[in-house]
């Protein structure tokens, strides 16, 4: 009998709890603009975010900005969940390689009619603008970019007799080998340290020799890593890698350990990576760190560097698109872009470009194929596997490239 009472009471409590939590909560007074930015902003320039928020809130009475920081390894899965739940942010930062798939799916609002409301839009960097454009329409606003440079130990190079940055890849390789011999007494020393699987680095060689990753032919994607020019670049990369790097880094992708960690332990004289590597090269070498543009195999030119970067887009599900555009305009204002530049980034317009190493390296750049499913090639780690295969000697360069081409074509051609 008592069980019965107990049971009814418990059932009642649960029912009311379930109902209470499922009743729609009252909306907070005023409006909120939800913005998804990556943690780079949180760690690198939070004051710029705050400045943009202030500017926006001052000109939009009753509005608050809610910044929700995201991480690179799962922000797209989280974004997909919000699309499914009709719960998307009003503004989202997308990596430039992430954009195409979502533009093709019609996820972003067309910003073309409002282009003039964004500072310097007439002079946007070609690479970033291309990543925000699909079918001729504009779906994103370039935010910032970054290229790749050589971060090196000025003291070691000087000691080896090289006062000025090398002018060609061959010269650079010779210098690295000499520095390596000079430091051979240091356990585990390698003249240069880059993860072998870091395709952002390796594929620069492909483009330097006039090759490419894939192109569209008769409406179908075809992998071109096994083309003559691409193979020439890859073979040169393999030779360069073998001459200057430890065998053990063939299977590393540059995230564990970070190349700059190896640098800070004094076990390498050079990294090839984003310009912000100088943040983390260690206290010991703070005074002897320098940067220069990685040279091409052709004397006097820079090797094409991967132009990384982010765009800001407005999901079509947003009910506050006008406000979203206004916030983006505040965040990419000329003043903010110049501030981003001071932090070592490349600003979003050619009219703002300065003469830093990072910006000079961007003079020659390469980018991934503008394919709907390109992001799946990245997620499927096809390129990493490809590089590991020929760097470790498991497959010849040509065979590995053929396998990669097949995988890329299969992924890109999926309906």
């Amino acid at each position: 009998m008592r069980y019965r009472v107990l049971a009814v009471v418990a059932a009642a409590i649960t029912l009311s709890a379930v109902v209470a939590t499922t009743a729609p909560s009252s909306k907070a007074a005023g409006h909120t603009l939800t913005v998804w930015l990556q943690v780079d902003a949180q760690n690198g320039w939070p004051e710029l975010v705050a400045a943009a928020n202030n500017a926006f809130e001052n000109s939009h009475n009753g509005w608050k900005v809610n910044i929700q920081y995201q991480q690179w390894n799962d922000h797209l899965q989280k974004f997909d969940a919000t699309i499914a739940g009709n719960d998307t942010p009003d503004v989202i930062e997308m990596g430039n390689t992430d954009m195409t798939a979502y533009m093709a799916a019609g996820e972003f609002a067309n910003l073309g009619p409002y282009k003039s409301s964004f500072d310097n839009s007439a002079k946007w960097l070609g690479g970033l603008k291309a990543s925000s454009t699909f079918d001729g329409k504009l779906y994103g606003v370039p935010y910032y970019a970054g290229s790749r440079v050589i971060t090196y130990r000025t003291d070691l190079f000087k000691k080896a007799g090289f006062a000025k940055p090398p002018k060609s890849m061959a010269q650079f390789q010779r210098e690295l080998v000499k520095v390596g011999k000079m430091q051979s007494h240091v356990k585990g020393f390698a003249p240069m340290y880059v993860g072998g699987e870091d395709w952002f680095t390796a594929l620069g060689w492909v483009f330097d020799y006039g090759g490419s990753i894939a192109h569209k032919s008769h409406g179908k994607w075809v992998g071109t890593l096994a083309s003559k020019k691409s193979l020439a670049g890859l073979r040169r990369f393999k030779a360069f890698f073998r001459a200057t790097q430890p065998r053990s880094s063939a299977r590393l992708d540059g995230t564990n350990p970070f190349p700059y960690t190896v640098f800070s332990q004094g076990r390498t004289a050079a990294n090839y990576g984003p310009a912000w590597y100088t943040c983390c090269t260690g206290k010991k070498y703070a005074k002897v760190v320098g940067q220069f543009v990685m040279p091409s195999h052709t004397k006097g030119k820079p090797i094409p560097g991967f132009l990384g970067g982010s765009d800001l887009a407005v999901p079509i599900q947003s009910n506050s698109q006008a406000q979203a555009r206004a916030w983006i305009a505040d965040f990419t204002s000329t003043a903010n872009e110049k501030a981003l530049q001071k932090k070592g980034n490349i600003p979003n317009a050619t009219s703002l470009l300065g003469n830093s190493v990072n910006e000079r390296a961007a003079a020659r750049s390469w980018f991934v194929p503008q394919a709907k499913h390109w992001i799946n090639v990245q997620t499927g780690n096809i390129l990493k596997t490809f590089l590991a295969q020929f760097l470790t000697g498991n497959l010849s360069v040509k065979k590995a490239a053929q396998v990669a081409d097949a995988n890329i074509a299969q992924t890109l051609n999926e309906p």
């Binding site: 019965r4 649960t14 997909d80 585990g188 299977r251 799946n376």
Partner: protein, 302 residues
């Protein structure tokens, strides 16, 4: 203890109602939606439009015809068998050890087991990652400079799939042992001493005593632990995902859970993801049905 099933009218239904309500409210629609998704073509475009295209069992056909699925399944089955086996054997041996040591050592070991059990998986992964990294990880240091078992200088433990999964297995088993050891140990202390002593007087050897007396009394416990371990290890996600790394997951080193995550949701192909989910559920159910049936029978007979 014999069960006495009372026919209690509406009482049992009321008692069960809260749980049923919560489970139905939270999982009801998702399970229905998952089944629906598995029968649809549903990519990014369909996600944005909130509308998929019915294609019947095509998703299932695609997955089952994909050799990758079968390789991944095999790998997961082997992985599960190895992990469950190691966990149960080492865990039980640990419990037997606990019986034989002095009290203070037992206290030490139990404290150690609790410390290990309490470590959140995401934390344990970070520690493993740090210990096993090729550049200055302590594992390589111990093997090379302390134990002198070989030259593991800058050895990359994540180079081959087998090596990667050795690392993952060591992490998973390490974290799973405390639960087994502590439970089995407590169960051991419930084995009637008289029975053991009687068998010892009879001259039976330790192994026979263990088999005939101890194991028989204990039987429900390993049953429960094994079936739970199978279910958990088959679907384990956090450790392989984080330890091998999101950036290193490929068709040659997926487990079912990461395969589901990357091929389904990583590539924004939700129909395929749903199909794989349902297949996974069916497989786990099939793998554990033997144990679950045994457990149910033991419970009902009680």
């Amino acid at each position: 203890m014999t069960g006495r099933r009372i026919a209690g009218g509406s009482v049992p239904y009321l008692l069960v109602l809260p749980v049923v309500l919560v489970l139905a409210a939270i999982l009801g629609y998702p399970i229905y939606y998952l089944v629906k998704l598995s029968l649809q073509k549903y990519g990014l475009l369909e996600l944005v439009q909130h509308h998929g295209e019915y294609i019947g069992l095509d998703n299932f056909r695609t997955v089952l015809h994909d050799p990758v699925f079968w390789h991944v399944l095999l790998r997961t089955v082997v992985f599960t068998a190895v992990n469950v086996g190691l966990t149960m054997v080492l865990g039980t041996l640990g419990a037997l050890l606990l019986v034989r040591v002095s009290t203070w050592v037992r206290l030490l070991l139990t404290t150690g087991l609790v410390l290990v059990w309490a470590m959140p998986p995401v934390v344990a992964v970070q520690v493993w990652s740090w210990m096993t990294n090729s550049e200055n990880g302590v594992l390589n240091y111990i093997l090379t400079d302390v134990l002198h078992v070989g030259n593991y200088f800058q050895h990359n433990w994540y180079e081959t799939t087998f090596s990667q999964y050795s690392m993952v297995t060591s992490l998973v088993v390490w974290g799973a042992i405390p639960f087994v050891t502590i439970t089995v140990y407590a169960a051991l202390s419930q084995v009637p001493h008289e029975l053991v002593e009687a068998a010892q007087i009879d001259g039976a050897r330790a192994w026979r005593i263990f088999k005939d007396v101890t194991l028989t009394v204990l039987m429900p416990v390993p049953m429960l632990l094994t079936s739970l371990s199978i279910i958990w290890d088959f679907g384990v996600f956090t450790q392989p995902y984080l330890l091998i790394g999101p950036g290193q997951q490929t068709t040659s080193n997926y487990l079912m859970s990461t395969y589901l995550y990357f091929e389904g949701f990583g590539k924004s192909d939700f129909g395929i993801g749903a199909a794989i989910s349902i297949l996974m559920l069916a497989i786990v159910a099939a793998l554990s049905v033997v144990y679950v049936r045994r457990m149910l029978r033991v419970g009902e007979e009680a």
